[in-house]
């Protein structure tokens, strides 16, 4: 059959179903195929908190949101054009974000009495039957049944046949957006290499879905979304935690030093451990410690020995590391602490995203204990920020905290691959060459106030360091009052001087004459950017600054902020960066805050800005 084709510029599609339905896989496949095709994309996987929440229930719903288009895609999208639901709970959870007149593809079997009951929907209110969806384009398909029929020839068990239904859906959506199945067929063949029957069944289901679209008349249109214009180069899709791991690896290779990750599993940081533990061949040590304290301490031990000590965690685990981070600050050893923020306080919302650990990063240690704080702004940006974190830690002999979050960590986007040669060189401060006599001064400083670190095993560099206040230059214990003040200031100044090497801050949009400035940091880059873009297209004049370096702040930031009467700070917390901005620049900045474990919607930011602009 030949459907009409409709050209679209961008589409938001949400796959949702039970966490056993293979939704993440479906989403990822569609994302990769779409990226390969040449669209720009942004994705947002949304897992249930439980490992295997009860099948069919609302808490058990797993979702994968994908936004793709022929232009720059900032965010996974506020609302969906298409909602694919495998069961009633998935519809219930997601309907509120479907655009008016949006497309619903619903699996009829997922709305049987059992599934309705599990979703807490009275039988008589079955949404597929009671006309409540009349504002949408609903496609009811018995995906389960069709899949089973399609794969009948393979004589799989009931469960195994049913498991292919996500491939049926994927095939159907491929058809709908005019995509090829090659990539996924390859993937299936690879994945089930040892189980050819399963492989064939899945491929059959995939094709059946595709053909179903092609043959039946359910769909009026097929859609096309043209390629996006991108920088030339090689691309891949990458999520934040992968990018982070790759960035660390790249830094270790360019610094020519082993990488040592001391860590303890915690959601959503564990994937960095998982990824790095696969790459031992690059001189990577991954040490799964007994707790977070041991993880960071072992990393300090590794740094002390001349490796690159890093540690990863999330909120509660970071809290436990704060004492040891103080030690690293006093020892002035390189250390990278990577915090994949999640909803807090306490155990909080472990699988949700939030930016509420900024103040902890800046101030959450005893005593005057400054460190460098940086925050990647997108999934792929983690690569370079992880790299720069190690570079700063090594070259400035200072702990560096990276603030990522659940959204950045798990979401993916196309990434213009930067090979290792495209990254700046790294030169550590480690002394590893024997000397003839020992006149080493462990706390003598270089131009950037970093110290030279003589590594154990280096002849004639024997010396002792520790957590008590050090005498300037010699590093001996000192209780001298003025020395203490000097050292506190030197450690602070050393961090300040990192500002010398970070890029000057620029406006993402607008300029010093714009009528309002919005400042963000870290993972909100996409949402704020999209909002500002839309506003400026709509005739407003809004300037945007996005901070990736938070301590120290870029040297020119004050000058950029000064001209503005209206300054807003958008954050996924109850107002943290804003405190810094107000304190430093005495601007009566207004916060845009969301504390819902979810990224900003573009419209939320737009509304806040418009409100503030209108409130004279």
């Amino acid at each position: 059959m030949n459907n009409s084709k409709k050209q679209l510029r961008e589409v938001v599609i949400k796959f949702a179903g039970d966490s056993g339905d293979g939704i993440q896989l479906t989403g990822n496949q569609f994302a990769e195929t779409t990226a390969l095709f040449g669209n720009d994309i942004a994705t947002f996987p949304d897992f249930p908190a439980e490992i295997r929440a009860p099948i069919g229930t609302v808490p058990g719903v797993s979702g994968f949101q994908l936004h793709f288009g022929d232009t720059h895609i900032f965010t996974p999208g506020d609302a969906y054009d298409v909602l694919v639901v495998m069961n009633a709970a998935a519809l219930k959870t997601n309907l509120k974000s479907l655009k008016p007149n949006g497309i619903i593809i619903a699996n009829i079997s997922g709305f049987d009495s059992k599934n309705l009951r599990l979703a807490n929907i009275p039988e008589e209110e079955n949404p597929l039957e009671n006309n409540s969806l009349h504002n949408y384009q609903v496609h009811k398909i018995d995906i389960t049944k069709l899949t089973k029929l399609a794969v009948a020839e393979y004589n799989l068990g009931n469960k195994e046949s049913e498991r292919c239904k996500n491939m049926f859906v994927l095939g159907l959506v491929y058809w709908l957006y005019h995509r090829t199945m090659d990539k996924t067929i390859q993937f299936i063949e690879q994945r089930f290499k040892k189980e050819p029957i399963i492989a064939n069944a899945n491929i059959t289901a995939l094709k059946a879905g595709y053909n179903f679209g092609d043959t039946t008349e359910s769909f009026t249109y097929q859609y096309e979304v043209a390629k996006a214009e991108s920088q030339p180069g090689l691309y891949r899709s990458i999520n934040g935690n992968q990018a982070m791991a790759m960035g660390f690896l790249a830094a270790s290779l360019n610094a020519e030093l082993p990488l040592f990750l001391g860590t303890y599993p915690i959601t959503p940081a564990s994937d960095i451990l998982h990824e790095l533990s696969k790459h031992k061949g690059y001189d990577v040590y991954t040490f799964q410690a007994e707790d977070e304290i041991s993880g960071v301490c072992a990393a300090i031990g590794a740094s002390y020995g001349g490796s690159i000590g890093i540690t990863t965690s999330s909120g509660p685990g970071i809290a436990l590391k704060t004492e040891a981070i103080g030690l690293a600050t006093m020892l002035e050893l390189p250390l990278v602490i990577c915090n994949i923020q999640r909803g807090g306080p306490s155990t909080g919302l472990p699988t949700k995203t939030e930016q509420a650990d900024l103040m902890q990063a800046l101030y959450g240690r005893n005593g005057e204990c400054p460190l460098v704080v940086i925050a990647p702004s997108t999934h792929s940006d983690c690569y370079e920020m992880a790299y720069i974190a190690i570079k700063i830690a090594l070259e400035h002999t200072v702990p560096v905290m990276i603030l990522s979050d659940g959204f950045i960590a798990n979401g993916a986007e196309p990434w213009n691959i930067k090979t290792i040669e495209q990254l700046p060189p790294i030169k550590s401060n480690f002394i590893t060459t024997d000397a003839d006599s020992n006149n080493y001064m462990p706390y003598l400083r270089n131009a950037n106030l970093s110290r030279n670190i003589a590594v154990p095993g280096t002849r004639n560099y024997e010396h002792r360091i520790g957590g008590l206040e050090k005498e300037n230059i010699t590093g001996n214990i000192s209780y001298d009052p003025l020395n203490h003040e000097l050292m506190v200031k030197l450690r602070a100044e050393k961090v300040e001087r990192v500002a010398d090497i970070i890029p000057p801050q620029k406006f993402e949009s607008g300029n010093e004459k714009s009528s309002l400035l919005i400042i963000g940091w870290g993972s909100t880059y996409g949402s704020i950017g999209a909002a500002v873009n839309e506003l400026n297209n709509e005739g407003y004049d809004v300037a945007q600054i996005h901070l990736k370096y938070i301590n120290p702040l870029p040297a020119n930031l004050e000058e950029l902020i000064k001209p503005f009467d209206k300054v807003m700070v958008a954050e996924l917390n109850n107002g943290q960066l804003i405190k810094l901005i107000r304190d430093k620049y005495l601007k009566d900045a207004i916060g845009i805050n969301k504390i819902q474990g979810q990224p900003f919607m573009v419209k939320e930011i737009k509304e806040s800005i418009i409100n503030h602009l209108n409130n004279a």
């Binding site: 891949r236 790759m246 690059y282 040490f287 301490c297 072992a298 031990g301 020995g305 103080g326």
Partner: protein, 338 residues
């Protein structure tokens, strides 16, 4: 990496630092420091390959007084720091200096995990059965009823039996020695160094300020023979100058009089027998039995942590890492925009 060149020869005197030793006069820590200084030159490893990592406590000041590499870390975490160092730098000789509070109170978890993982560290636990640095509170090795600053009417907490705890945590080497016996210490420290795996040495150390006389029964001329027994591998358990021995009655150790019984009746020490080691660790609450000094247990068969980790790294080794890395970046589906 042992370098036998003459420049690597050093003496105990070379191990002195320019820092004044600041323990209380009479503290048992001095004797331990001296014994360690004494043996290092004999181990055949150059001075710059020794690292002493400590936590916090009086005892943990040790690294400042030892002219090797050293780190005075934070309370309870020395084992963790040392583990990170040792796995990445297996050629170094890494020693952990810790106290009963540092190792067994706040640092208990890192200690037991270190023992089960078995990196080749030498742990010297200065057990003075008190918190010295914080001026005298009871510790996890203080006896029930002990009156201290924090237990004015006596502590109600039952203490650890440190070597029993370590054995329970799968330690591959446990030994006990005492500050006042320099020769025995030195022998034990050499054994600890020789053991490949984590060596746990409990050292009875007198804190003459906050817990004086704690170990007098093992050092006072008149009674020490009755209260301590010195273990030797494959030798019968004999003490009190040969007058007494220990035999096993079934599983129960008992004291026998060697005028009545013969040496052949005595339990024979076997460092490699874990059950015997367990029985020896239990010479503790029972005050009729002498306290064992020496190596209670030594198992050389268990692989070290750094061995395991570095093996995996070597086996996976990639020759041209940068090249491989670039292709790694491209292993996931990628596409080109021109």
């Amino acid at each position: 990496m042992h370098n036998p060149e003459s420049i690597d020869i050093f003496t105990p005197k070379d191990l002195e630092t320019d820092q004044e030793v600041r323990w209380c006069p009479g503290c048992g820590d001095y004797a331990i420091l001296n014994s360690v200084k004494k043996i290092l030159p004999d181990l055949g490893q150059p001075k710059h390959e020794f690292v002493f990592i400590s936590g916090i406590g009086c005892s943990s000041r040790f690294p400042y007084y030892m002219n090797t590499f050293g780190m005075h870390s934070i309370h309870g975490r020395a084992t963790a720091v040392a583990t990170g160092l040792k796995v990445t730098r297996p050629e170094l000789s890494v020693w952990v200096i810790t106290g009963d509070g540092d190792a067994l109170s706040i640092g208990g978890n890192h200690l037991i995990h270190t023992l089960r993982r078995n990196p080749d560290l030498n742990i010297l636990l200065f057990n003075n059965q008190i918190y010295g640095l914080t001026k005298g509170q009871y510790s996890p090795t203080s006896e029930v009823g002990k009156v201290t600053k924090s237990s004015p009417v006596g502590s109600v907490e039952s203490p650890f039996n440190p070597l029993s705890l370590c054995l329970g945590a799968n330690s591959t080497f446990i030994a006990r020695t005492i500050d006042k016996d320099a020769k025995h210490q030195q022998e034990i420290y050499k054994r600890a160094y020789a053991h490949k795996g984590t060596s746990m040495v409990e050292i009875y150390q007198n804190c003459n300020v906050f817990n004086d006389h704690a170990f007098d029964i093992f050092t006072d001329k008149e009674i020490k023979l009755l209260n301590g027994i010195y273990l030797e591998h494959q030798k019968p358990l004999i003490y009190d100058g040969g007058k007494k021995g220990i035999r096993l009655n079934g599983l129960q150790p008992e004291v026998i009089d060697l005028e009545e019984y013969s040496q052949a009746d005595c339990m024979v020490h076997d460092e490699t027998d874990k059950t015997k080691a367990f029985i020896l660790t239990q010479f503790f609450e029972n005050h009729l039995l002498p306290r064992p000094f020496g190596v209670l247990y030594c198992d050389n068969s268990k692989p070290t942590l750094e061995g395991g980790m570095n093996n995996q790294i070597e086996r996976a080794n990639i020759v041209d890492k940068k090249l491989a890395f670039n292709s790694l970046l491209m292993t996931n589906a990628y596409w080109e925009v021109k």
